[in-house]
């Protein structure tokens, strides 16, 4: 006697079993174990089974060279100034510069933007965030004059102020403006074998009163053949901190800075 049956999942199960049986029935036990191990390895691959354990960032100190991607970077100091050449802050802000000696140790030129990606803006020290595109047309008479809230842990903030129940999205900090201290120009290309003394410059709120900044240098990895695009052979910044440390801020030296900009 035949019974009506639901063919959906049962059919899939029977087909799967038949396929497995077709392959496995004629295998020896050793072969079955081998196939099982390979299948298990393949099955866990998409879930990060082979990813390296996240490495701890190495310490970053002023005066000590570190290697990241094609660069050897020696952070010299951090300094503040009312303005740096053509970079003039909004009222209530100043400019923060991280001075570094950077050598391209590779064999091909690297765009200076890659250096900016490797050394992102320090967080929680009042760096003025990028203005969102939708705010560019709006009036900006509030705050520090830019219409944006500085990324700062303000020690003088009202402690009684209750935090917003829905925390606003963290504003994106800008990439550094990179200036060649030797001549005050903005280098686009960093050629191999040359050491450039550069300043990575951000606009910072006057509300920040600390004497050190936390600086991070991100990992760069070489892409020989890109799987995601037609571009090959380039350095790709990773979301992984390679070096981190506290860099002391030196007092501003307007005369010296101005002289450096004139050279």
């Amino acid at each position: 006697m035949k019974h009506a049956r639901n063919d959906g999942p049962d059919l899939a199960f029977r087909l799967g079993r038949r396929m497995v049986a077709a392959v496995a029935d004629d295998m020896s036990t050793v072969q079955r174990v081998g196939v099982g191990v390979v299948a298990a390895l393949v099955a866990v691959s998409p879930f990060g089974a082979w990813n390296e354990v996240e490495a701890q960032a190495d310490p970053l100190t002023a005066g000590t060279p570190v290697e990241v991607g094609p660069f050897e970077v020696t952070i010299e100091k951090a300094a503040t100034a009312d303005e740096l050449g053509y970079l003039v802050p909004e009222p209530g802000n100043h400019m923060l510069a991280v001075v570094a000696n950077v050598t391209n140790t590779g064999e091909v030129p690297v765009n200076s933007g890659k250096l900016g990606e490797a050394i992102p803006a320090p967080e929680s020290v009042g760096i003025i965030p990028e203005v969102p595109l939708e705010d560019l047309g709006a009036d900006s008479d509030d705050g520090a004059g830019t219409g944006t809230t500085p990324d700062v842990a303000d020690p003088s903030a009202d402690p009684s102020a209750s935090p917003s129940p829905s925390e606003p999205e963290k504003p994106e900090l800008p990439s550094a403006s990179i200036v060649n201290i030797k001549d005050g120009t903005s280098p686009i290309i960093l050629n191999p074998g040359l050491t450039y003394r550069v300043a990575l410059i951000w606009e910072q709120s006057d509300k920040f009163s600390g004497d050190v900044i936390p600086l991070r240098i991100m990992e760069l990895t070489w892409i020989e053949e890109s799987a995601a695009s037609l571009d090959n052979e380039y350095w790709l910044p990773l979301d992984e901190v390679a070096f981190t440390g506290q860099i002391p801020i030196e007092p501003a030296k307007p005369a010296a800075d101005a002289e450096a900009g004139q050279q």
């Binding site: 064999e107 030129p109 060649n180 074998g193 450039y196 571009d231 052979e233």
Partner: protein, 206 residues
């Protein structure tokens, strides 16, 4: 007793795995891309006019400078600037010449700066000679034996835009002893703005 089936044997498995491995090895290690990617290199010297099919190119002068001075700024070299004056004459149609780089004896590559009026590319109408100046910041040990590579395809890390196209590679003619002399000299160069080349530089008097 079952019929119509073949047992999976170690021998058969080894044959299949071996064939796949051999295929992967062939694809990986055979230089199959060379024939597809390699540009047509046209070699020459400073002062020689090279035919690249899409243009005629003449490197007219090579200088070295510590400082470049332009209309509104001055640029100081990290090493020294190699200033290459060149004249392009497009022969087929309006052409952009996007590739410019120096290669040293170690195989290191250097790209030009766009500071102080130096060019990183050029664009020319057919029938006219277009003068342009490239300025490369290079270290001391890159001078001797360096060559400049100029083409319509842009320079990139893998020269992707120059595949199967004519590319000029010109000896700069800097010997080791000359390199020392050039490095020690303190020179300032004011790069000329790009423009129509005079007849003396192979142009049509502009």
């Amino acid at each position: 007793m079952r019929h119509g089936r073949r047992r999976i044997t170690w021998k058969g498995t080894a044959l299949v795995v071996g064939a796949v491995t051999a295929g992967c090895a062939l694809v990986t290690y055979l230089p199959q891309d060379k024939g597809v990617d390699t540009p047509f290199i046209v070699e020459g010297q400073v002062g020689e006019t090279l035919d690249l099919t899409y243009a005629e190119l003449t490197v007219t002068d090579v200088r070295v400078a510590d400082t470049l001075t332009g209309f509104s700024e001055a640029a100081a070299a990290g090493g020294t600037f190699v200033v290459v004056d060149a004249t392009w004459r497009a022969t087929q149609g309006e052409t952009s010449f996007l590739g410019a780089e120096i290669t040293d004896r170690q195989g290191r590559r250097f790209w030009p700066t766009d500071l102080t009026g130096c060019s990183t590319s050029a664009n020319a109408q057919p029938g006219y000679a277009w003068r342009t100046t490239y300025c490369f910041d290079v270290p001391r040990d890159a001078l001797a034996g360096a060559t400049v590579r100029l083409a319509r395809g842009g320079q990139s890390e893998d020269h992707a835009d120059q595949r199967r196209d004519a590319v000029a590679v010109i000896e700069l003619g800097i010997t080791p002893s000359e390199a020392e002399t050039l490095w020690e000299a303190e020179e300032t160069v004011v790069p000329e703005e790009p423009g129509y080349a005079p007849a003396s530089a192979g142009g049509s008097e502009g």
